[in-house]
């Protein structure tokens, strides 16, 4: 799993790539938290466009980041979710703590060819 962070003003965008499970989540978490604590973003976007698999570790990653970011009054947005990742996040009610949006159709097809 690869994690890349970009900033624009007070907005932090995190691009996640690969399979998000219990094995891979800690590295992503540490990278995001370390950066966020130094940067204090006003808004954070987690971009799941490159995520090819996700289980409940993805839920844990989002809930944990929310708990940290809310301390800086930072808002959270999750973008480019595959149909499957969206289903997992809705199951956990994450739409109550973050704005969730799915990948557009072209992106969704890319997900399918990755499988």
């Amino acid at each position: 799993m690869h994690t890349r962070i970009e900033t624009d003003g007070q907005v932090m965008t995190v691009y996640l790539d690969g399979e998000l499970d219990h094995h891979n989540a800690p590295a992503a978490r540490e990278k995001i938290d370390e950066f966020a604590v130094g940067f204090h973003p006003a808004h954070t976007i987690l971009d799941f466009g490159g995520v090819t698999f996700m289980d409940s570790s993805g839920i844990g990653l989002v809930m944990g980041r929310y708990k940290l970011l809310v301390q800086f009054s930072c808002t959270l947005e999750i973008r480019n979710l595959s149909a499957h990742a969206y289903k997992v996040m809705r199951l956990a009610g994450l739409d109550r703590i973050a704005a969730l949006s799915r990948a557009d159709k072209k992106e969704a097809e890319k997900h399918e060819t990755h499988q």
Binding site: H22, S56, M63, A92, Q115
Partner: protein
């Protein structure tokens, strides 16, 4: 009812094996021609069960995880994931959404995810002896729907 095909897999409870376990089970199910959504459901449920073995059953040691997959007529799939770890004292409580014995980023939703992505989830556990989770998934993929 006799299975039409069966496989067994034994892995060590190392987190690096989570990906291997879910991919191996999904690949074996390919004979039933599942849809992409069904493949994702299987991979996710297996990932949850195997993660539970690693995190909870063998918290301070590396133990063995035994996976058995049986395929039946009409797209019925049974996945049994067994460990010889510490066992669960209160299975009912463990299955409750958001319940977790661990802090950090554990969501406590592992069993909820298994339940929503499978047709049936059975848990048998004995403290000090281990846990067996059985996942039943009915695949309605192309080939399954052509069965008489």
């Amino acid at each position: 009812m006799r299975p039409i095909n069966e496989m067994r897999l034994q892995i060590e409870s190392r987190s690096v094996n989570e990906a291997y376990a879910r991919v191996a089970v999904a690949a074996f199910a390919a004979a039933l021609d599942p849809t992409l959504e069904e493949v994702n459901d299987i991979k996710t449920a297996v990932s949850e069960a195997v993660t539970n073995c690693i995190v909870h059953a063998y918290p301070n040691e590396v133990g063995k995880i035994y996976i058995q997959v049986r395929l039946f007529e009409r797209g019925r799939m049974e996945i049994r994931i067994r460990d010889r770890g510490c066992g669960i004292a209160d299975v009912k409580k463990a299955r409750e959404p958001l319940f977790t014995t661990r802090g950090g980023d554990r969501s406590g939703l592992g069993f909820s995810v298994m339940e929503s992505f499978c047709d049936k989830v059975r848990v048998r556990s004995a403290v000090g002896k281990g846990t067996t989770v059985t996942l039943v998934k009915l695949l309605h993929g192309r080939e399954a729907s052509l069965e008489p």
